[in-house]
Amino acid sequence: MNEINEGASQPGPDRVRLGPLERKILEEVWAHKSKSLTVRELMAEGKTSLAYTTVMTTLDRLFKKGLLQRTEEGRAFRYSAQCPPAEISRLVAVEGMRRWIESSSSSSLPLSCFVEAISAHDAKLLDELRVLVDQKRLELKRRKEKR
């Protein structure tokens, strides 16, 4: 068996952007923990109804992103997870935040210290609280205007 490192010279990814299909396939690979899988074995699980070539292309893309490692076995490849799920979630959050910061028009705001990765749950909670605060502000403003 030959270890193949093409396109994945680093031990893990620095930045991650995942599409829904990539995420789905990655979750299935994670479900097997340290066990490696071929495309055929993954499809034999019956959890995915995708075409063979779609799964193969997606796995290849995940390998090139440094999220999977693979070894050659005959004419096929065996894929296994490169990083634990928590690490990928963190990198996805960091990437999302980085893109948001870069797209921000108020570049004078010193954002370099912004959260490296607040979890999706925390972000959602803070958003909910933000809405409540805005509603309360509006309510107080209306009350003041009535007087």
Binding site: P110, S112, F114, E116, L129, R130, L132, L140
Partner: protein, 310 residues
């Protein structure tokens, strides 16, 4: 005379150590019992929780000074202390010295860290307290110092908060200052005891609520503070907050409850009942009884001390 003084010091320290351990054990059991019974009711009085946590230290010091040492001076006859008493006394002295070293080391680390933040700091006009704007690396908003307290605000926090949000956030730190929370943290750091962690956390949570309460005087302030809390939650400090400091969002898990409580702020809400008078009433009521039976109390204490020794 010198030998008698050394003996009394050893016995006093030994007595203090035993009393501290027993009272701490009592408080740990009481707290865990209370926690099981009342955890959902939300005990929110910071003063009561701190009083409970500090009771073993104050109680054992009081019993030693008011009873154990006078009993020793008045009733002690010959030299009947053994190696065990000496070990107990020396052990307690070592524990006290250990606590002191722990405090000094943490204070020294905190001073060094804050000094690096203050290198390029500038004064900010944000209220009565000295407020300094610090560059990268510092926490978003922090109250540092016991004798000469200062509020440190990171430039990111200044950029994110509106002037009103910043003012009320500094008021929150003023609330901690009035309650001497940094000094309380220092005392607790020097008097650790296994099993007290959850009580200390509960006190810190209650202290945050109390400081919120102290910072806010109307609904607009309450909304501003809630908004400041949410905004600062997005900032993650590069380094952890040093010891004996209080930060606005130190307890991130509490933000949800704090924001909801602030949004529920009512103009005419009654402040926490001042229960200090009740404490002093109990002391005044107990004083005549103690004075009347002081001799008997000394005798009982002396017997207890003898029992410890033997």
């Amino acid at each position: 005379m010198i030998l008698f003084a050394v003996r009394s010091l050893v016995v006093g320290l030994g007595f203090f150590g035993v009393a501290y351990c027993l009272l701490s054990l009592l408080v740990v059991c009481m707290w865990h019992g209370m926690w099981l019974l009342f955890r959902d009711s939300g005990i929110r009085s910071a003063r009561t929780l701190f009083g409970l946590r500090i009771f073993p230290l104050i109680g054992s010091a009081f019993v030693t000074v008011a009873f154990a040492l006078p009993a020793f001076y008045r009733l002690e006859g010959g030299m009947d202390e053994d190696m065990g008493t000496l070990m107990f006394g020396v052990g307690t002295a070592l524990l006290l010295a250990g606590g002191l070293v722990r405090v000094l080391a943490a204070q020294s680390r905190a001073s060094r860290l804050v000094a690096t933040w203050l290198k390029e700091a500038g004064i900010l006009d944000a209220g009565a307290l000295t407020t300094l704007q610090v560059k990268q690396g510092g926490p978003p908003l922090l109250l540092y110092g016991i004798s000469t307290p200062q509020v440190l605000v990171s430039e990111n926090a200044v950029a994110l908060l509106s002037p009103d949000e910043l003012r009320v956030a500094v008021e929150h730190e003023m609330g901690h200052l009035r309650s001497r929370d940094n000094l309380k943290k220092l005392i607790l750091h020097g008097a650790p005891f296994p099993g007290m962690g959850s009580l200390e956390r509960a006190w810190q949570e209650a202290a945050e609520f109390a400081a919120d309460e102290a910072a806010v005087s109307n609904s607009v302030d309450a909304v501003d503070l809630a908004s400041a809390l949410i905004k600062l939650c997005h900032l993650v400090p590069v380094q952890e907050s040093p010891a004996f400091t209080t930060g606005l969002v130190d307890m991130a898990a509490l933000v949800n409850a704090r924001v909801r409580r602030l949004l529920d702020w009512k103009e005419n809400r009654s402040r926490e009942l001042q229960s200090r008078w009740f404490f002093w009433l109990a002391i005044v009521a107990a004083l005549p009884y103690t004075v009347a039976h002081y001799g008997q109390a000394l005798l009982v204490t002396h017997r207890l001390t003898e029992w410890f020794i033997h």
